[in-house]
């Protein structure tokens, strides 16, 4: 969305700072136990890094890195992880989404098994939130005309 001659500084800085934003987003998801954060917050920051690339370059450049198919698969993968952990707890014998029973397959005590269950669930939520935010943004920004040739904004 920026012409080539005008935005050299913007394009270079955005390209340099996007990995740092993504690393910070993964930190926020993983440290949801010890500091304010968790799945929703980290997923939004991850989505913001992709939206920053769309603002600095155009949609085609970002589509090369995050294609439609990968986006749609990631949307569903998060919900599958969440429901799958619940189903695993059901299969092992406890109630649905009762993570205390996971101490039978992981070598920890029940309190830490709950902590690991919380971490797994937050990772699933982070995937879904990131993929849906990027998908809503790309759909609204291009008006649905993804597959045409030569569109830039």
């Amino acid at each position: 969305m920026i012409k080539d001659s005008e935005g050299v500084i913007i394009k270079t800085v955005c390209r340099l700072i996007t990995p740092i934003i993504q690393l910070y987003a993964l930190y926020v998801i993983a440290h949801g136990h010890y500091s304010p954060g968790g799945g929703f917050q980290g997923g939004c920051i991850l989505a913001a890094s992709f939206i920053l690339m769309v603002l600095a370059y155009d949609i085609k450049e970002v589509k090369k890195r995050m294609s439609e198919k990968l986006n749609t698969v990631l949307c569903s993968l998060g919900v599958i992880i969440f429901a799958g952990i619940g189903l695993l707890c059901l299969i092992l014998g406890a109630n649905y989404l009762d993570y205390g029973i996971l101490h039978k397959i992981l070598p920890v005590d029940p309190a830490h098994a709950r902590s690991l269950g919380i971490l797994g669930v937050e990772i699933g939520v982070g995937f879904t939130v990131m993929a849906v935010m990027v998908s809503i943004f790309l759909n609204i920004a291009s008006g649905g005309k993804h597959e045409e040739e030569g569109e830039t904004s």
């Binding site: 500091s35 929703f40 809503i136 609204i140 649905g144």
Partner: protein, 134 residues
């Protein structure tokens, strides 16, 4: 005076009621559809802040993350030292609902624009009335 007591002890509710009324005014009195959707967003934000403000506690309470270090956390936790975590949890869900409704509302506005070629409410109602009259 009783009015001053009421204002000083419950000023948080009054601030968020004023913010709600700003959003409400934008929803009912503006003609452009995008302004109405933005007004809805302001209204929802005011409601979320209203609920979160009921969670605070006086007397130096801190955020609900248990401070530990040198083994002092686990035995007796004083509940007056941490603010109430329950409204924060419920409002995380409300924020996600806010984002979802905003995204779907903007997508609907794009389709309305493609069909009627305008985004002003009175012009759309005129076009609908003329189509009904035919």
């Amino acid at each position: 005076m009783e009015i001053m007591d009421f204002i000083i002890s419950k000023y948080n509710y009054l601030i968020y009621i004023i913010l709600m009324m700003i959003g409400f005014y934008a929803m009912i009195a503006k003609n452009n559809l995008v302004k109405k959707v933005v007004g809805m967003n302001i209204f929802q934000t005011a409601i979320i802040l209203f609920f979160v403000s009921t969670a605070s506690k006086k007397g130096g309470a801190t955020i609900p993350i248990i401070q530990y270090g040198h083994g002092e956390a686990t035995d007796i936790i004083n509940t007056a030292q941490y603010i109430n975590p329950l409204p924060h949890v419920l409002m995380l869900t409300a924020i996600v609902v806010m984002v979802s409704t905003f995204g779907v509302a903007i997508a609907l506005l794009i389709i309305i624009y493609r069909k009627y070629n305008t985004l002003e409410e009175d012009e759309i109602l005129n076009i609908l009335k003329m189509e009904d009259g035919k």
